[in-house]
């Protein structure tokens, strides 16, 4: 029997999965190619990564749909595969992990600035998110994960659009922060308290942060969220910022150091923990060992 995210959160800390983009790059996704291409071309690799994360102890697995909003896909001339990429994105993970693991469907930013600052029409952006959410939910996603947002208006449009598709689905709304001398702000100038309050009232059932510079910085962000959030907090840091070493990318945080830092955040009241860029099944396995079942 599948246990919902809300029930799991009520019972204790939930462990999610780690990075996907970096795992795909490691397996040969060409630089600059959209990860969604492999939903169409290499589904067996996606299934293998999903299973590796479940074996590591993740109870929630993210889909390969981060860049699958209509605007992002059309940049890569994949606009005509929009429905298929989102539907298959969910189906591949579901088939790989079975019914007891939660499938968390990723929704990333459009990559465009909203008018009047930029030229993206908010109504069109909102329609795009709603269309994407509709396909993801229909394909059987348990959770919608709106992530790596920096603009609160865009994040809010996404949460509202997702909520308009399903009244009961769990929605994670997660933004990316820089640490400034005045505390964490996104590059667009959004504070943690603004994010926590606005996104929860738009309909998010979890708020929090993913990506960013690394675990040290994320500790500050997590603390700020736990202090102000009225809903459970989701925290998924990077394994630090990558360096190039002899032509290959190296993320500085080892599984052990990552796990120690993230488990410490969980102990302060974070509800859902996982990893973003540069984290691997080894990072999630180490985290699971620290958190226990």
């Amino acid at each position: 029997m599948k246990v919902s995210l809300a029930r799991r959160l009520a019972a204790g800390v939930v462990v999610g999965d780690g990075g996907w983009g970096t795992m795909l790059a490691e397996r040969g996704l060409p630089a600059g190619a959209p990860p969604e291409l492999w939903t169409l071309q290499r589904p067996e690799i996606l299934a293998e990564i999903a299973r590796a994360y479940v074996d590591a102890g993740a109870e929630l697995i993210t889909t390969n749909t981060f860049g699958a909003s209509p605007m992002r896909l059309s940049l890569h001339r994949l606009g005509d595969r929009f429905e298929e990429i989102n539907r298959r994105g969910v189906e591949i993970v579901r088939a790989a992990v079975g019914d007891e693991v939660l499938v968390s469907a990723s929704i990333g930013p459009t990559g465009r600035l909203l008018a009047p600052l930029g030229n993206a029409d908010p109504a069109e952006v909102s329609r795009g998110f709603a269309e994407q959410a509709r396909i993801l939910v229909a394909a059987g996603a348990d959770v919608l994960c709106i992530e790596t947002m920096t603009d609160l208006e865009e994040a809010t449009l996404a949460v509202r659009a997702a909520r308009s598709i399903s009244e009961e689905i769990a929605i994670i709304a997660s933004m990316t922060f820089d640490i400034t001398p005045r505390g964490p702000f996104t590059v667009m100038g959004v504070s943690v308290s603004q994010a926590a309050e606005t996104l929860a009232s738009a309909g998010a059932t979890l708020v929090g942060s993913n990506c960013g510079a690394g675990v040290e910085e994320m500790r500050i962000v997590a603390k700020a969220f736990v202090e102000v959030a009225t809903v459970p907090v989701a925290i998924q840091p990077n394994a630090g910022l990558p360096r190039r070493q002899d032509g290959v990318l190296v993320y500085p945080e080892s599984p052990d150091r990552f796990a120690a830092a993230v488990a410490a955040m969980a102990a302060t009241g974070v509800g859902l923990v996982g990893g973003c860029c540069g984290t691997t099944p080894a990072h999630i396995a180490a985290l699971r060992r620290r958190i226990g079942r």
Binding site: P30, A31, G32, P181, M188, G189
Partner: protein
């Protein structure tokens, strides 16, 4: 009576109408257009660049200031041309192949235009030969490349190599930037320059053009 101070403040506030109005009022007085540029607009954008670097202000503030700067330049530009104030040069800018991050590159473009450069902006996901062909077409002395991904940084090396292959290095200088880059990386790939932010980019490009 409008002052340089008022103009500078209008730009920093991101008030395009006020910036344009203050510029129009000033050009009727006895301060020359070059002085208006050098004593009000450029310092205003330098302050904006610095405050953004310290995250006292954020991306929306920078973009609004850039817009106000453009509004002022629209008034000033014909007068600068009339006075024969020399253009600083032409720079081709773009984000390298495979990379869609263009916000930082756009800021560099704004600051360069503010400093009197003509910028040919190729957008993002730009191919090596497209950089070079555009530079030859526009008779540019400098190619500026941006990359935000550790996976696309290597594309910059490909552009530098391509310039060598086409025997154009005595004509075309390269400068690279983007959050994951460093001076050391720029040197490693044989680029002629690197800058950590848009203000420094203008200075480095000025040096490259002079050489």
């Amino acid at each position: 009576m409008s002052s340089l101070q008022e103009l500078s403040e209008a730009v920093q506030r991101g008030d395009a109408a006020a910036a344009s109005g203050a510029t129009t009022a000033l050009v009727g007085g006895d301060i020359g257009p070059a002085d208006i540029l050098n004593r009000a607009l450029l310092p205003a954008m330098a302050v904006i660049g610095e405050r953004f670097r310290e995250r006292e202000i954020f991306l929306p503030d920078v973009l609004l200031a850039a817009r106000a700067m453009k509004a002022a330049m629209a008034v000033l530009e014909p007068l600068l041309l009339r006075d024969g104030v020399a253009k600083s040069g032409v720079v081709v800018l773009g984000t390298v192949r495979g990379d869609l991050h263009d916000i930082g590159k756009n800021l560099v473009s704004v600051m360069l235009q503010g400093a009197g450069y003509d910028v040919v902006d190729l957008g993002s996901d730009v191919d090596a030969d497209a950089f070079i062909d555009a530079a030859l077409d526009a008779d540019a002395a400098v190619i500026g490349m941006s990359a935000l991904l550790t996976t696309t940084m290597t594309e910059m090396a490909a552009v530098v190599r391509r310039i060598e292959e086409r025997g154009l290095h005595d004509r075309l200088r390269t400068i690279v930037g983007g959050a994951p880059l460093s001076e050391a990386f720029a040197r490693e790939i044989g680029a002629d320059g690197f800058a950590p932010d848009a203000t420094a980019a203008v200075e480095r490009i000025r040096e490259l053009v002079r050489r």
